[in-house]
C-alpha cells in the first residue's frame, strides 16, 4: 500500500498514514496486546525511526531522546489493547504517545532548571523547526510541505512551536507576540487546514 519505496513515510490510498514500509500496524498492535513479542519487534522495526525522529526533534538531547523513545515503546506495549482503529490510524496513535512523552520530558526538564525562554532560543528554535528544511525528501514530505504552504505564517509558526518546540499555547502566544488566547485558535485553525489539505481524518 505504500506508494513510496524505501524509508519514506507510508501513506495509504486514503491519505491516512499507514505503517512504515507498507506494514499494517493495526494487526501488529493487536497481536502485541496478546503478548506477542515477535509482532511487537516487527512493530518496533517499522516505526522506531519515525518515533525517534520526532522525539529527538522535540527533546533535542540525543541521550534523553533515546530514553524517551524507550519509554514510548514500553508504553505502546502496555497500552496496545487500548488502540481503537475506529478512532484513527495506528501510526497516529503511536505518534500521539511519542509526542506526549517527548513534551512531558522537555517540560519537566524545564521545570527543573527553571530556564527562561529567551529571544535567542526562540529564534533558534523557529529556524531549527522549519519543517521545510528538516523534512525528509519524500512524497510524504512534499505533501506536508505543500500543506504547510497553505497555512498563514502565524498558523505555521504556532503549530511548529507547539508541536516541535513543545511549547504551550500560552507560551506560543508570548513567543509570537499574539494576544493571550489567540495562539490556541491559530493552532486549531492551522491543524484543520493541514488536515483538510493532506486529506487525513474525518
Amino acid at each position: 500500500m505504500d506508494p513510496v519505496p524505501g524509508d519514506s513515510a507510508g501513506v495509504s490510498h486514503e491519505g491516512a498514514p499507514a505503517g512504515g514500509h507498507g506494514t499494517d500496524l493495526g494487526p501488529l498492535l493487536q497481536r502485541a496486546a496478546r503478548g506477542d513479542t515477535a509482532a511487537f519487534a516487527t512493530l518496533y522495526d517499522a516505526t522506531a525511526a519515525r518515533v525517534h525522529g520526532l522525539v529527538l526533534r522535540v527533546v533535542r538531547d540525543p541521550a534523553q531522546a533515546e530514553e524517551v523513545t524507550q519509554e514510548v515503546f514500553l508504553e505502546v506495549w502496555r497500552q496496545a489493547s487500548r488502540y481503537d482503529a475506529a478512532r484513527g490510524s495506528a501510526l497516529a496513535w503511536l505518534m500521539t504517545i511519542s509526542h506526549r512523552k517527548a513534551v512531558d520530558r522537555v517540560r519537566s526538564a524545564e521545570a527543573a532548571t527553571r530556564r527562561d525562554v529567551t529571544y535567542e532560543q526562540t529564534h533558534r528554535s523557529v529556524e531549527h523547526d522549519t519543517t521545510v528544511e528538516a523534512a525528509h525528501a519524500s512524497l510524504e514530505a512534499r505533501r506536508v510541505r505543500t500543506a504547510l504552504g497553505q497555512l498563514t505564517d502565524v498558523q505555521r509558526e504556532a503549530i511548529e512551536l507547539a508541536y516541535f518546540g513543545g511549547y504551550s499555547h500560552t507560551e506560543v502566544a508570548t513567543l509570537l507576540d499574539l494576544p493571550v488566547g489567540t495562539a490556541k485558535t491559530r493552532i486549531r485553525d492551522g491543524l484543520i487546514r493541514l488536515r483538510d489539505t493532506i486529506g487525513v481524518g474525518r
Binding site: 498514514p17 500560552t170 490556541k184 492551522g190 493541514l194
Partner: protein, 245 residues
C-alpha cells in the same frame, strides 16, 4: 465536569487543536479531557487533528541506536499489557450509554465482595477481626460512591461512609502525575476550605483511604502538587467529587 465550560468563561471547544499537539498546561488538559468525555464532536475533531499532526511528525526519520531496541525488547518482558477496555465499543460510546449504571454496578460488586469477606469471620468462633479502614468504609451500611471517568480510560471512585467518618478513593488505569508532581487529595469542609487528605500512591490501580474526618465533608478534590504535597491547594482541582450530605 461540564461546569468547567461555564465557570472559566472560555470556549472550551477551541482548545481541541492545542490539546491535539499537547500544548495545554496540566490543568487545562485535565479540564479539556473532562469536557471530551462528554463531547463527541470534540473527540472526533481531536482524533482527526492528531492524524494531521502525526503526518507532520513523520518527516524526520532517525534510527535510534541498536541498544534502544535491545532495552525495549528486554523491558517488555517485565511489563504486562493492559487488558482491553471492558466492552467492544469505544470507551466514549460506553460512557454516553451507561456511565451511572457502570458506576453503580462497580460499587455493588465492590460492596458485595467486601461484604462477603466481612461476614465470613463471624461464622467462626474467633473474636471479631480487625477490619482495615478501607474494609470498614466499603462495608458500612451508609457507604455511597461518586465516580468520575477520564478520556484516557482511567476512572476514580470515591466511597464515603458518614458513620465511619472516612472516605477512600479507588482508581483504575490512572496515569502517573507529571514528573516532580504528585496527586494530592483534599476534603472540602462545609465552610468550603480544602483540608489536605494525603497523597495518592503512584499506582494506576489503587485504593487509598483519605486522611482526616470525612463525616461532614462536602466534597473530595484532587490537585496536582509538587512532590511531597502542599498544605493548601496551589492549583484548581483536576477532579472534584461533590458528596451528598
Amino acid at each position: 465536569m461540564s461546569d468547567h465550560d461555564q465557570t472559566h468563561g472560555w470556549d472550551v471547544h477551541a482548545l481541541s487543536g492545542a490539546y491535539a499537539v499537547d500544548a495545554l498546561d496540566d490543568l487545562e488538559r485535565v479540564r479539556f479531557e473532562a469536557h471530551l468525555a462528554q463531547c463527541a464532536e470534540c473527540r472526533d475533531e481531536v482524533d482527526s487533528l492528531r492524524e494531521a499532526a502525526a503526518v507532520l511528525g513523520t518527516g524526520d526519520l532517525v534510527e535510534p541506536p541498536a541498544a534502544v531496541r535491545d532495552q525495549v525488547l528486554a523491558g517488555i518482558a517485565r511489563i504486562r499489557p493492559l487488558p482491553p477496555q471492558p466492552t467492544g465499543g469505544t470507551v466514549a460510546a460506553l460512557r454516553r450509554r451507561t456511565p451511572l449504571l457502570l458506576a453503580v454496578a462497580a460499587a455493588v460488586v465492590l460492596l458485595l465482595g467486601v461484604g462477603v469477606a466481612w461476614l465470613q469471620p463471624w461464622d467462626g468462633d474467633d473474636a471479631p477481626p480487625q477490619l482495615t479502614a478501607a474494609e470498614r468504609i466499603l462495608a458500612a451500611a451508609d457507604a455511597s460512591t461518586v465516580e468520575k471517568s477520564f478520556p484516557d480510560g482511567s476512572t476514580a471512585t470515591i466511597v464515603i461512609s458518614r458513620s465511619e467518618g472516612r472516605a477512600l478513593i479507588r482508581t483504575t488505569d490512572m496515569a502517573s502525575a507529571p514528573d516532580g508532581k504528585a496527586y494530592e487529595l483534599w476534603l472540602q469542609t462545609p465552610a468550603g476550605v480544602m483540608v489536605p487528605a494525603g497523597l495518592m500512591p503512584d499506582d494506576p490501580d489503587t485504593t487509598y483511604v483519605l486522611d482526616g474526618d470525612a463525616s461532614e465533608a462536602t466534597g473530595v478534590g484532587i490537585t496536582v502538587e509538587p512532590d511531597g504535597g502542599s498544605p493548601q491547594p496551589t492549583s484548581d482541582p483536576i477532579a472534584l467529587f461533590p458528596l451528598d450530605s
